[in-house]
Each structure stands twice: as C-alpha cells, then as structure tokens.
C-alpha cells in the first residue's frame, strides 16, 4: 500500500528530529510523548481518573492560567502601541481603535483580566469546598492566596493605564481607601502614587508594576504552585 502524505511527513527525518516519539500507538509511546515534550512534561504521564472529573476542579485553575497566558500575549502586543505618559496614554488608546483589530486586542485584554479575577476567586472557592488545602497541600493554598492578591494587583495597576476618567477616579478612590490606614496611611498612598495625587509618577509606577514586576512575580509563584500540585500527589482525592 502506498503511504499517505500525512504518514510520510510523520516519518520524515525532519519531523522525527523535532518529535522523537512517533505515532503514540502504545502506552510506552504515549508516556514518552508526555515525558519528552517540553510543554507537556509538567503534566504527569498517568493521572488519577478522579482528577480528570470536570465537576471536581471545574478546570478553574487551568482556566485562570490560560487567561494569564492570553493576557501576556495581548498585553505585550498592547505595549507596542502604548506610551505611559499622561500626554499620550489616552490618545494612544483612542488611536488603538483605528488600528486594524486594535479594538479587539484591547477588548481581549480587558475581558480576560476581569475574567481572571473571577476564575481565580472561584478556584479558591472550589479548593475550599473540596477541602483540598489539607496536608500536604497547606502551603499551596498559601501560595494561592498570594496569587489571588497578585491577580487583584495586576488588574488594579492595569486599570489606570488608559488614563480616562474611569481610570483616574478608580485609582483615586482606591488609593484614598489605602490612606485610611492608621499612622502609615499617607505614607502608603505616597509610596504607591509617587506623589500626593494620581499623576505622571503614578502612571509610570503602575505601568512598570503592571507590565514587568507583578507578572514576573506571579509567573514564578505559578510555577511553584504547579510544581507543588504535582509534588503533593496531584489533584486531591474526593472528600
């Protein structure tokens, strides 16, 4: 029988040099496929049947991470089109609407960000009700709470960047709440804004935090979070 074009590609030297395993038609090859692939090797080769039940995790942690990746991709694209200065930020946003698919880019980033706040919170709720924070998973819960805080911080710092009324007053209200802290309030507010009120310094601070510092810290914590899920024995069992 003549070989089909697909099979020829799959058996070619080039393909085999990239994907060493070949067609995964045995369990060994299925395992190797998971094990030898850079992106798949963070997953175990075999999983508990229970852990795959949608109604246990609702995939909320995974969806949070997917949204985070979408946010990184769209966010980096937005960085090409945005200047963090109070003279230009707002007009860059307006110009974005005129660029091919610029609006969709911004929409994707905005709705994914809101979505991530929701899914991370719901993920925490799921983990609580399945009591998955019990030993040995206590510390992963702690990392999770940090991730929740960082997710809120990411969303909040991004909120200022369009430099419209919504952004300006949203951040003003938020930092005013911070200034209610006893003794340190005004200092905290000054530290966050770099000035007494929202202005150029705040925009620059929020920009750097939003595009570099917080995503980086969050990514490191997520790496530890996923590592710990595996080291703690995979998804927790039923109650």
């Amino acid at each position: 029988m003549k070989k089909g074009i697909l099979q020829r590609i799959l058996e070619s030297a080039v393909w085999r040099s990239i994907f060493r395993t070949g067609i995964p038609d045995t369990d060994l090859k299925r395992s190797m496929l998971m094990y030898n692939n850079f992106f798949l090797h963070i997953f175990p080769v075999k999983m508990k049947r229970h852990g795959l039940r949608f109604c246990y995790t609702f995939c909320l942690g995974g969806i949070s991470f997917l949204l985070f990746i979408i946010l990184c991709v769209t966010g980096i694209l937005l960085m090409f089109l945005y200047t963090p200065s109070i003279e230009r930020a707002y007009f860059d946003m307006q110009a974005l609407a005129l660029i091919f698919n610029g609006k969709i880019l911004r929409n994707l980033h905005r709705w994914a960000a809101h979505g991530m706040v929701v899914t991370v919170f719901l993920h925490m709720v799921r983990v609580f009700y399945t009591r998955s924070y019990r030993p040995p998973r206590e510390f992963n819960w702690v990392i999770g709470i940090w991730l929740l805080i960082l997710t809120l911080a990411l969303s909040y710092t991004g909120y200022l960047l369009p430099w419209d009324q919504l952004a300006y007053w949203g951040i003003t209200v938020g930092t005013t709440i911070m200034s209610y802290t006893p003794f340190l309030g005004k200092h905290i507010q000054y530290f966050v804004l770099g000035a007494d009120e929202v202005g150029h310094e705040a925009l620059l601070r929020f920009y750097v935090l939003h595009c570099a510092v917080i995503p980086f810290v969050a990514l490191v914590l997520m790496a530890i979070h996923f590592w710990r899920v595996r080291k703690d024995g995979g998804i927790s069992g039923p109650l």
Binding site: R30, F43, V45, K46, L52, I63, Y90, A167, I177
Partner: protein, 181 residues
Amino acid sequence: MEKDQEKVFVNDPNKTYGLMEIVEGTSPMAEKAPEDTIESFPHYIILLTICSLAVTFVLFIISLFLDAPLEELANPLVTPNPGKAPWYFTGIQELIHYTDKPVIPGIIIPLLIIIWLFLIPYIDRKPKTRFTSLFNRIFIGGEKRRILIVLFTSFVLGALIFTLIGSLFRGENWNFILPWR
C-alpha cells in the same frame, strides 16, 4: 480490566500467588495493585484542548461584541458622581458608606480576612492535644468543619452581595438605584 480496577488489591498473607493467565492489556501491570489511573495522553490532553479552545472562543465572541469602556480624558478637576473603584473593590466602598470610620471596612476587615484565609489550612487540622481540639471545636466545628463552612460561605456571599450592590445599585451620591431604570 475495568471491573478489576475498582477493587483495591489486597495481598492475603495466607495465600500464594502465581502466574495463572496472561490477559490482554495495553501496559504491563506487574507488581502493581490495580490503581485508578489513565494515560494523560490522550485522555487529559483532549480535555485540555477542548477546554482551552472553548474558553478562547467565548472570550473572542465577547470581545467582538462588547467594547472595553473608554471615557473622557482624565481630568482631576471634574469629579464624577459617584466615583467608583474597580468593581472588585466596590464591595469595600459599599461597606465604607455605612460607617464614618472608613478604616474599619477599608483596611482592618480586608486585612483580617486575608490573614484568616492564609491561616485556614493551619487551623483546620486534626487536633492532637486538648487545647487544639478545643480550638478546633470553636473555630472549625469538628470533623465536618461546620463553623468554618458557615464562615467561608458568609464571606463569599457577603463579597458577592456587597460587590453587586456597590457596582450596580449605587448612583449619584451613592444613593440606591435600580440599574435597569
């Protein structure tokens, strides 16, 4: 095969074991008790792909029809009424509205909630001493953790309700409004 895996394999010390039969299977099961695992590929990978595509698709549809807001240029001289924080903080704003000591709902309560969240896995443990079992009875509510569940559920519902009120049902001067009016 399927049926076998549901029972847990227990070695009876009074019996001897030997090779009786060779069964059809896709992987060697030597020296392994039947465990309820399956290959990640393809079972998990299919789930992962479908889930990721579905989420991305829904996000695209939303972004196609719903535009992110962009109001007027920021103007420190024009204070909008009401000035609202991002939606996930409007619950706090709503609480602040009820009191003239904003530090309590604005700082102290959120801080206490965060500390309590951090501590949950360390207080919900099997009690070992008399003290910890008393502690457990007060803050967790025994093996069924009834008290903890009540507390956590009220936290989630409270966050939901106050956030909804703060972001949708509050208009000028933080007066109550109906969003559909």
